[in-house]
């Protein structure tokens, strides 16, 4: 996980940060979440989920994966079901465990063929109004490929925002890809802003590439 910056240095740097607000695949009962992420050229994803209750949501997405190492590319379109098996509502904090799974079709660039594909993943997050941490894993598989995307985010807010105020977060993201998409750990520094139902974050990876996400709840 820490190959790029060295095990000890990265662990110390991340431990030194206060444990930001986490993107969640379930908004609230009868809520819809729409999200788009540009992941430094290696991944681009759009998702839309509707939640009948705060415990689960369903919807779909499209994920494009382009290897940094060779000509591997995948276009994956999927339907997904998300569940919230556990939430801890504490006086000044909240923590969540999310899990999801789905099926879809994947276009494999090297062969030019469409394949059945499935996906599964999970997320744990913890946040207060000033600090946040999330760990997410997302697996995409077909008979032609297996890619797991692991993402760790740690963030802090310079001030505790109120409901209708602009929230500002500084986030450090570490991400690893399996299956020949990227070598090592991709680290990004992000600025996250949200107010009411709109969320935007953007930053740069250690390679100077753009990492960005927008999200809306309604």
């Amino acid at each position: 996980m820490w190959k790029t910056c060295g095990h000890t240095a990265c662990a110390l740097a991340l431990a030194a940060l206060p444990l930001a607000a986490a993107a969640k695949p379930i908004a609230f009962a009868h809520g819809t979440t729409v999200m788009a992420e540009y992941g430094a050229g290696t991944m681009t994803e759009v998702q839309a989920f509707y939640a009948p209750t705060y415990r689960y949501s369903f919807g779909g997405g499209h994920l494009v994966l382009d290897s940094e190492l060779d000509d591997r590319s995948r276009d994956i379109t999927y339907m997904r079901f998300n569940v919230l098996p556990k939430r801890w509502n504490l006086p000044t904090a909240q923590a969540n465990v999310f899990a999801w799974g789905g099926v879809g079709r994947a276009y494999v660039g090297e062969t030019g063929e469409d394949e059945f594909a499935w996906n599964a993943g999970g997320q744990f997050d913890y946040e207060t109004r000033r600090v946040y941490a999330s760990l997410r894993t997302d697996l995409h598989e077909s008979s032609a490929f297996s890619h797991r995307i692991d993402t760790l985010q740690l963030g802090f807010a310079p001030y505790a925002h109120e409901t209708n105020e602009l929230a500002v977060w500084f986030v450090v993201q570490a991400r690893e890809y399996t299956g020949g998409l990227y070598d090592g750990t991709e680290v990004a520094a992000l600025l996250r802003l949200f107010k009411r139902n709109a969320w935007i974050e953007a930053g740069l990876t250690q390679d100077g590439k753009l990492q960005a996400m927008v999200m809306f709840n309604f």
Partner: protein
Amino acid sequence: MKHLRILLLLAGLAPGAAHAATIEMTVNGLVCGFCAQGIEKTLRKNAATDDVFVSLENRLVAVATRPDADIPDETLREALRDSGYDVTAIVRSDRSLAEIRAGAAAKP
């Protein structure tokens, strides 16, 4: 027209006039404005709701009800649960939402 306004004003001050109350709920898990917007959306669907105020700092969700209307505690707890939060206390007060907003804004 002037007389009508005076009559309406007096009617509003008279004992037994329609009374709007405020319900104040203490809520656990209120840490993110982006995530808490579901609370307002859910509570505003209730016909008895006049206005809603959410304060992360005070762990407070306040609902101003329409004149002579109330929302049962269980309905309130269910609304907050549907939004993903837990209610720990519910009190009814005579404070207006404007006063509660002002109080929340005045806190350092």
